[in-house]
């Protein structure tokens, strides 16, 4: 019996900020004090507050240490673990009040969240099936096999109102019922862990923090549709997630929770992992299945839909990692419980990966229908340096932006579509006044041009042309006619591309054109970039009133574009200037500005 458990995040984010060395230091320090039998060190998955990693929680007090370094460990062990005095200055600031120490769950970041898909992330050791079982793991599978017919399982998932979390939001129960209805000697259950949206990492975090939740849900899906084999398609760039999945599958097989005759009920189900090379298009369902078959991951036309002819031409369902992470909870708590959270047409919670100009970058899970303002200001801790919110981008390269006037809009699948954005997988990139919306659109188009598989022309050539037009505009060579042309081209690509990649690729352009047309007009008519991002449209000038002639800028300019004598106002030769911004950053008198 341990008297204390110390949980440290071993997810990708905290590992990158050095949690491995903290764990090593902790283990050796505990050994040095002979505490191995009293104190247990647990490497968990992501806690969500990646901005202040590595994160460490000490139980039973529940003290929350943030940004822990290996050199802090001796002090924490000596003071807190041995003498019972939490080291206040190393605790997460918000948790330290005058007379008490708050726990993680009491922080602003956590108490507005509702954790269903992430419930075990940062709570259990993902490499221990026993810890998963301690938190009701595999009980939902047992319940299905013992108490429900496959049809009843499908009815429960339908009644919950769960919709796919991978992007399109298709009702999960309905998808399962299609595959269940098709008779075949073999069917398949697939899990989409490709996570191609550059701003998203919730699927990785679920797999790193709670891999058994996905395995259990896939087995339930297998029972529901009559499949005995599952595949998890995951990108090879997620080594920690892959490793934990491998461990989890091995443990589940050892316990007989995967394999033959599960719970003695005559149901067989097993799961294999397939590694993807990280092409965005391989997240598309038909391309993913082609890739699992060992062929080049290219989309194919639908119909036939996978529910009829999917993997190896057999009835197949494909769901996203986060979708699966909800299933066991729905079975255990009932569909009414799940449906009581969320909005009328979008039930449950959604995980968002907060990134960009926001203080608390990380993962948050909130009831669907929460407003953007709550997510950004209350949970996300607002925008750094007191800058002004401009827009949030959701849905990554397939999505659009939400401008400030919609901050109080409840976020769900429908409301986002109505303003030209989309839920997507849940990447949420916050932008402030320093972001240029044309530049953002160009960034996403560059991504899709790279990722287009090239199979069909509208996408292959169309996105390239679109990118070129954007590039022209950011260089000040665009015209008003170009804006209309661009819109036409966008609609053409949307309507004529074979797969979802091409069909959604123009969204970032259409959405910025819709909400920030003035910014485009400033680029083409005034030849100015209001946010000061597009280099070709900027001029750096020195205000002779403010310039003290300290010569600092002239000495630092990499191309010698600044001249002037000591104690005299300096000037910039705009022909030579490469707009690197060094002078602006260095001037102590605020005499330099970009226009």
């Amino acid at each position: 019996m341990y008297r204390s458990h110390i949980l440290i995040c071993g997810g990708t984010g905290c590992t990158a900020s050095g949690s491995a060395s903290v764990i090593a230091a902790l283990e050796s320090e505990i050994k040095a004090h002979g505490l191995e039998n009293e104190v247990k060190v647990v490497r968990t998955g992501c806690f969500g507050l990646c901005a202040v990693g590595p994160i460490m929680i000490v139980y039973p007090e529940g003290c929350f240490y943030s940004a822990v370094k290996a050199e802090n460990i001796p002090r924490i062990v000596e003071e807190h673990i041995i003498k019972g005095r939490p080291v206040k200055e190393l605790l997460y600031k918000e948790t330290v009040t005058e007379d008490a120490i708050k726990s993680l769950n009491q922080t602003d970041f956590y108490n507005k969240q509702k954790r269903v898909a992430l419930r075990n992330c940062g709570v259990i050791n993902p490499e221990s099936i026993d810890e998963y079982i301690a938190y009701n793991g595999y009980q939902a599978l047992a319940k299905c096999l013992n108490e429900y017919t496959p049809q009843q399982v499908i009815d429960i998932v339908k009644a919950s109102g769960l919709r796919g979390r991978g992007g399109a939001g298709f009702p999960t129960g309905l998808k399962w019922s299609f595959a269940a209805a098709n008779k075949a000697d073999q069917k398949y259950v697939c899990c989409n862990a490709d996570e191609g949206d550059p701003g998203a990492f919730m699927d990785r975090s679920v797999l790193e923090g709670d891999p058994h939740a996905v395995l259990e849900a896939m087995a339930i899906a297998g029972y529901a549709i009559g499949a005995s084999q599952g595949y998890i398609y995951i990108r090879a760039e997620y080594p920690i997630a892959v490793e934990r999945l491998e461990i989890a599958i091995k443990q589940a097989r050892e316990y007989g929770l995967l394999g033959k005759n599960i719970f003695g009920k005559g149901f067989d189900f097993d799961i294999e992992i397939r590694l993807g090379a990280g092409a965005f298009v391989c997240g598309e369902e038909t391309a993913l299945m082609t890739s699992i078959e060992g062929k080049r991951g290219e989309p194919r036309p639908r119909p036939p839909f996978p529910a009829l002819k999917g993997l190896f031409a057999k009835p197949t369902i494909l769901n996203n990692v986060e979708t699966y992470a909800n299933i066991a909870q729905i079975i255990l708590n009932g569909p009414e419980w799940f449906a009581s959270v969320g909005t009328e047409k979008s039930k449950g919670t959604k995980v968002f990966a907060l990134g960009g100009k926001i203080n608390n970058t990380g993962l948050v899970e909130v009831p669907i229908g929460t407003t953007l303002r709550t997510v950004i200001e209350e949970i996300g801790g607002g925008i750094p340096k007191g800058k002004k919110f401009k827009a949030a981008q959701t849905g990554g390269p397939s999505g659009g932006c939400i401008p400030a006037e919609y901050l109080d809009l409840p976020i769900d699948y429908e409301s986002l579509i109505s303003i030209g954005a989309m839920m997507g997988s849940g990447g949420l990139i916050v932008m402030d006044e320093d972001n240029c919306m044309v530049d953002i659109a160009k960034f996403f188009l560059e991504f899709t041009v790279d990722e287009s598989c090239g199979k069909c022309t509208p996408c292959r050539i169309g996105t390239k042309r679109l990118y070129e037009m954007l590039d022209k505009i950011t260089k000040g060579q665009g015209t008003l006619e170009d804006l209309d042309e661009m819109e036409k081209l966008c609609n053409y690509i949307k309507n004529n591309s074979l797969c979802g990649l091409g069909q959604t690729a123009p969204n970032p352009v259409l959405s910025t054109l819709r909400h920030f047309r003035n910014e485009y007009i400033a680029h083409v008519v005034d030849k100015k970039c209001p946010a000061g991002v597009c280099k070709d449209l900027l001029t750096f000038v020195i205000d002779p009133e403010k310039c003290k002639g300290c010569t600092l800028c002239a000495r630092n300019c990499p191309v010698n574009a600044i001249s002037g004598s000591v104690k005299q106002p300096h000037t910039i030769d705009t022909a030579k200037c490469i707009k690197c911004g060094t002078c602006l950053d260095n001037c102590k008198f605020g005499a330099i500005s970009k226009k």
Partner: protein, 122 residues
């Protein structure tokens, strides 16, 4: 694993170990004095005895917490037992045997073990 019972058996066994991560500790807490004096007098064994005895009795909603700022030369090892809304009870000069009795009679039985309390000696 052949049936649900085996699954539930693992769950039960694990809860014994995982209860400590129960953030709420809703039923109460036990604070053991871990100052230098306390440690010298054997406070560590007292902490372990509390965790052991609580776990043995499947009590997972009471936290055993260490505190370096309570304790004295004469009374160590000592512990404060906070149960629900009831006023805290301070036990002094503890040993693992006394702890077992406190868990059985006070924490489970709801009756303060008067002879071990701080006020008993006065």
């Amino acid at each position: 694993m052949k049936n649900v019972e085996e699954l539930l058996a693992i769950k039960e066994r694990m809860q014994y170990q995982m209860g400590i991560r129960n953030d709420k500790n809703e039923a109460g807490k036990i604070v053991v004095g871990m100052g230098t004096v306390g440690i010298a007098a054997g406070a560590k064994d007292v902490v372990l005895a509390f965790t052991e005895n609580l776990g043995k009795n499947n009590i997972f909603n009471i936290a055993v917490i260490q505190d370096g700022s309570i304790g004295c030369e004469k009374c160590s090892p000592m512990a404060e037992v906070h149960m629900g809304d009831a006023e805290k009870v301070t036990y002094v000069n503890l040993t693992p045997e006394k702890v077992a009795k406190i868990v059985a009679e006070h924490i489970i039985g709801g009756k303060v073990v008067a002879e071990y309390t701080a006020s008993a000696g006065k």
